[in-house]
Symmetry: C2
Subunit: 202 residues, 2 copies
């Protein structure tokens, strides 16, 4: 799930959502205004005002779009090796020195999740997006078990654990000055996957 979904926006809706994404990364949520989103949009700003009712409407539509694209991207790689697919998802959060844009995106997600604690629309989005992400992760684990490359484990529980530790990493990245812990956490996560998920090498 990443920012690259906005690289080639097709049509006005995607261009508006890409503008929302850029404005969100640049200004953060608290300082975001619908005018700043309009500034990032290359076509007539009135299109933004016409179709969306305030900044939350735009931010939620943007998050929704990213989630849809994530689902589509995951469906596309259905026939790859389950272990490689799982490692790819795990890798995403561990990227060392992410570019400033991704770092800013992580911070914005933390800001929006904080908002979710008192805003039902955001809470609904994140509850659903957690479910989508975990359903995809569980599907990979299930494929791995069926193909005999993973152990008999509980796919939903493994998915929950992976998604929770991924959240911990994103959460911590926004507030930590060092990244030494990243390698430690990765090592322990690999040990967990070896002992609990990956089938032992014959």
């Amino acid at each position: 799930m990443g920012e690259d979904v906005f690289e080639n926006p097709s049509g006005s809706r995607e261009e508006i959502l890409a503008a929302t994404y850029r404005a969100l990364v640049e200004h953060g949520y608290a300082d975001l205004t619908i005018d700043k989103i309009g500034d990032e949009f290359e076509k007539s700003q009135s299109l933004v005002y016409h179709h969306y009712d305030g900044k939350d409407d735009l931010v939620l539509a943007c998050l929704e779009f990213m989630l849809e694209e994530f689902e589509a991207a995951m469906d596309d790689v259905d026939d790859e090796d389950p272990r490689e697919r799982l490692e790819e998802v795990v890798d995403w959060a561990f990227t060392h020195s992410p570019d400033p844009e991704r770092q800013q995106f992580f911070s914005t997600i933390v800001e929006l999740r904080a908002r979710a604690s008192h805003d039902p629309a955001y809470r609904e989005h994140f509850t659903r997006s957690d479910r989508v992400i975990e359903r995809q992760l569980a599907a990979i684990v299930r494929d791995g078990i069926e193909q005999g490359v993973f152990r008999e484990c509980n796919p939903d529980a493994v998915a929950s654990a992976l998604s929770t530790i991924q959240k911990g990493i994103i959460f911590r990245r926004t507030s930590a000055d060092d990244t030494a812990w990243l390698e430690d956490v990765r090592g322990e996560l690999e040990a967990y996957l070896e002992g609990r998920v990956y089938a032992p090498e014959e």
Copy 2:
């Protein structure tokens, strides 16, 4: 590390910090003002203004105080069984249906960590508090290895992993409507601890 440190404040400083804590939990960080902190303080409000320079000064002092108390509390239980101590720390984040105060405290922590991404004073605090928490966790693991009740593992790496998953749980609690995932994550974490940390039963 919890809110109970403010139950019996001794002296004006602790009373001011307890007032800050209550105001923070009640209003969240964004809506917090120094006046709202003064409202929670039973003595002369001028004491608050005299000793602290704005709301961030108070919030940081409050976080700092909680961290000191956490350290002192951990030192007090040095001679308990390492496995029980580790389980106690793990339990803290998993509490089902935490009272609304703790739930609100979790949300506030997420809000402040989001702030840390662009405020060096908060980033410095959280970087340090992560180190303190992990040093304490690593000390427990080291004790367990020395006493032969834990396996030969890397105490710092285990501490990093536990602290990161704990953050993931706190982060997720603020934005999820359900808690079914909690039991799943707990089960996987127990499996990790059994396979990687606790010595096998003889």
